[in-house]
Structures are given as structure tokens and as C-alpha cells.
Amino acid sequence: MMLSFKDVSASIGIIPILRGLDVEIPQSQTVAMIGRNGAGKTTFLRTIMGFTRTTGEIRFDGKRIDTLHPPKRPGLGIGYAPEDRRLFSAFTVEENILLPAQAAGLDQAETQKRLDRAYEILPELREMAGRPGGQVSGGQGKMVALARALMLGRKLVLLDEPFQGLAPALAQRYSEALRALRDSDRSVTLIITESNPALLRGFADRTLVIERGEIAEGAPQTEGESA
């Protein structure tokens, strides 16, 4: 199993949010996590990254990560693009993308290789590489956040409502980029949250439905369902 949750509960401060999750996600699966606003999607992803108080057991690649210091987790091969993109405004687009590789201490050649791959998947970012992180539009910011997540996310990529607020043309581009990502590396595992299931129809291998902090298996989706 790439990622498994055993009786995981998570709280923010003293408020319990996720309750008794048991989920297993095999390698190279693309999982859509659907749930309305406030259902716990963001909390689920933040729990994987280590930003909630957690009980139970989370394993990644066979290793327990729920007890691992949060900044050590991305280095295991986990990339995370938060809901509100959260670029660093002090840095350019490219500097933003490079930061995870620098934090992980990757060498020059490996960093360049990963940057090239991110640009291959999101070629439009090359043109805005020098732009300040605070001066890109919301939609472009989501692309930058995706590229940044790809730098370390060789095994698992977590995307929190990536399509929310994207203009249709950009949303189209974003899903093309996701397809390019899967084509470039069949082994990568993806978890994408959405409140609007239509946006991920035909893309995911599997749907999980989250409701009030509890997760249930959704109806299976097939490529054929896509319009």
C-alpha cells in the first residue's frame, strides 16, 4: 500500500474534525475525494502533511509517518498543493518552484532535472518564471503550486480543490497538465479533492466521499463516463 490510514482521527486545536478513518490507497491510483464545503477535505490532506493533532496510524510506503516531524514528510516523495496556493511573494515563480528542492538539499543536477520536468508538464510557467510570486493570477498561481508540489512529489501528490475558481480555459489546461503528469510517470499516486464531482469525472480511478469527517467509498468511475 502506498498510503494507509488505520483508525485515524484528527483534530484542530481541541476540535475533532476527522473520525476513525480506515483508508488504503494503492500505488499509482488517482483518487478523487469529494465532499461539500466543511466536510474535512483540507483537514484530511493537512493530516497527511502533519498539521493536525492525530491519533491512529498513517503509513506511507510502509513507514509510519503520523509520528514524523512534518517538514520531514515532503522529502519522502510527497508533494502538496494547498487550497489557497500559498506562493511566497518575496520570490519569483521559479524561485517558488525551486524552494522544495533547496529545502531538501538536492544537488544542482537533480534540481535542474526536476525543474525541467515540471516545466515539461506546465510549459506556460516558463514564460512567467521571473514574475514575483505575489503578482500571478489565481489560476496561474494554482499551476505554480502544482509545479512546486511536483518537485518533491515523486510518489504522492496531494491537490486541494485545484479547479476551484479556475476559468474554464485554465481548468482545461490544468487537467491536461494532470494527464501529462500521469503519462510521464505511471507510478505516481494522486489525491485530488473537489466539492464539485463533475470536475473530476472520468479522471479518477476511484472516488472517496467525505462527509462530516468520515470517509466512504464512492460509486466507481470509469473513463467511459466522461462526456
Binding site: 502533511m49 520531514k72 514528510r73 515532503p74 500559498r86 511566497f88 511573494s89 520570490f91 529545502a103 531538501a104
Partner: protein, 301 residues
């Protein structure tokens, strides 16, 4: 005011501003990154001065050249930052980042009180004076006014180098970038693998080294005695608040304003001279509560 007194006031102001700026730079770095107002910063300044005087006095008594005082200042500053700043962050502050600001202020104030007593225990209450570094560089005469090279040239040069160097470090080096990113958004930084705990420890030690260096550089220009830390924390806080908390370049300008204000007041209206820094701060904050260069919204350094 004739040309001579004008120049004297100007030179006093510049050298004084340079010293205050170096200390304020550490204070504003720590505040900008960690959002902690470190009252104990004043003690680190004082201990930097005491440590330098002791170390320089001891080494020069062995017959070393006075010029050796300069590397010893740097050694003292680093010792203060690593041996005192490091444990204070690691053992104490680390536990209270998510606590209310009032509590954080009280804790750093407690550290300040403890360190004040430590100074009295180690160095007693008699004043120290050790000016060989000042004399080693000689004097310079400008338009008939003679001033020490140490105060007129070295101190401003060090201050300027630190300003430019810190800005370069934060924006261009990898470690600096990790600090800057953590300042802007701690969770986003951690989620791309930046260890915010390490960033905070490093930032605090760097800030503490700047406080210690301020004290080390001040030591040849003044008597070292109890209470100097309290004076300096209040003064450098005035600089930091006038500039806007976390404003590095702003602190340089605020330090110049306050340094000049004070030194000209000494020649023009000596009775109010000690009040001038705070008058400047109050005036600025009345008009701009976020400081000259501060913005209420963004977290930046």
C-alpha cells in the same frame, strides 16, 4: 550652532545610530521572522560588551597587539549568540510560540531579569572600560573636527555591511530563502519541507549575535556598567517601532533619525536629549501606527 558643533553633533549622531542600528537589526530580524518581541535582547547586548572587555583585557594583558581586539569582538558576539541565544530559544521560546503575546513578552522579560543578575554575579557592579580597539585605529580630522576613525568610519561601515549582507542573505542564499519563506507562511514552508524549528533557532541565534556584536562594538566607546542593557533595549525598540516591526532597511533610517535627533538635542537642548528618541517614536506612531515603513497586512522580512 557653528560648523564645528554641527559636525560634532553629526558625527556623534552617525556613530551612535550605527551602534543602535546593529542592535535593532537583530531585534527586528527576530520579530520579523518569529513574531516575538525579545526583551532579553538588551541583556545580550550588555553581555556582548562585558564579554568583549574581559576577553580583550585578558588577551592584551598577555602582550597581544591591540588590533587583535577586533576578531575578539566577533568571537564574543558569536559566543553570546550561540551559548545564550541558542539555549534561550531551544529550551524556552520554542514552547511558547503558540501562546498569547503577553505571555511571550513576560517570558522574554523574565529572561532579561535573570540575565541582568547573571551579569552582576559574573562582573559585579563596578564599571569597566577598555578602549584599546578605539585607540588602535587613530583619529581623522574633517574640516578641523577631530574624531575617532573607529566611531566615524568603522562603526557606520560595519552597520552598512550588516544591512546589505543581511538583505542579500535573506533573498539570495538558500538558507536565507528558507527563512524568508518561513516568515511569510510557516505552514506552507513546512509543507514543502522547510524545518521551521531549525529556521527559528537559526534566526534567534543570528539576532542574538547581532545584539552581542552591538555590545562588543560599543564596549570601547563607553563604560560598561549595569543597566546598559535596559537602556539599549528601550532605544532599539524605539528604532524598530518607528521603522515598522520587521523592517530591515527602515530600521537603518529610523536609527539615523533617532541617533541624529538625540545628538543634536545634546548640543541644542541637553535637558531633553534622552527623551528625543521616544518623542520621535511617539510622533511617528501617532501619524502611522504601523511605523514609517510597516504595513499592517503582510508578514515579511
Amino acid at each position: 550652532m557653528n560648523l564645528t558643533t554641527f559636525l560634532l553633533a553629526l558625527f556623534d549622531g552617525v556613530s551612535y545610530a550605527a551602534l543602535v542600528f546593529i542592535v535593532a537589526l537583530g531585534l527586528t530580524l527576530i520579530f520579523g521572522v518569529m513574531r516575538i518581541l525579545n526583551v532579553a535582547h538588551g541583556s545580550l547586548y550588555a553581555i556582548g560588551a562585558y564579554a568583549t572587555v574581559s576577553l580583550v583585557g585578558w588577551v592584551l594583558a598577555l602582550g597581544a597587539a591591540p588590533i587583535l581586539a577586533f576578531p575578539l569582538m566577533i568571537v564574543s558576539a558569536i559566543l553570546v549568540g550561540v551559548l545564550i541565544g541558542g539555549p534561550v530559544e531551544y529550551l524556552l521560546l520554542r514552547r511558547i510560540y503558540d501562546k498569547p503575546e503577553v505571555l511571550q513578552l513576560l517570558v522574554t522579560f523574565a529572561v532579561f531579569m535573570i540575565l541582568e543578575d547573571v551579569q552582576r554575579l559574573v562582573w559585579g557592579t563596578q564599571p569597566y572600560f577598555e578602549a584599546q580597539a578605539l585607540r588602535a585605529l587613530g583619529n581623522v580630522t574633517v574640516f578641523g573636527v577631530t574624531y575617532t576613525v573607529y566611531q566615524l568610519i568603522l562603526l557606520p561601515l560595519v552597520a552598512l555591511t550588516l544591512l546589505v549582507g543581511l538583505r542579500f542573505f535573506l533573498r539570495r542564499t538558500v538558507t536565507g530563502k528558507l527563512i524568508t519563506a518561513t516568515t511569510e507562511d510557516r505552514e506552507a514552508a513546512q509543507s514543502i519541507g522547510i524545518d521551521a524549528d531549525r529556521v527559528f533557532l537559526l534566526t534567534f541565534v543570528m539576532g542574538a549575535i547581532l545584539a552581542g556584536l552591538g555590545g562588543a562594538l560599543a564596549s570601547p566607546t563607553t563604560s560598561i556598567l549595569p543597566g546598559m542593557g535596559a537602556d539599549m533595549i528601550v532605544l532599539s525598540f524605539a528604532v524598530v517601532a518607528t521603522a515598522g516591526l520587521g523592517q530591515i532597511e527602515g530600521a537603518a533610517i529610523a536609527a539615523l533619525m533617532i541617533g541624529m535627533g538625540r545628538s543634536f538635542a545634546i548640543y541644542i537642548w541637553p535637558e531633553v536629549a534622552v527623551l528625543v528618541p521616544y518623542l520621535i517614536m511617539v510622533l511617528v506612531l501617532l501619524v502611522r501606527p504601523e511605523g514609517l515603513f510597516g504595513s499592517p497586512a503582510a508578514r515579511k522580512i
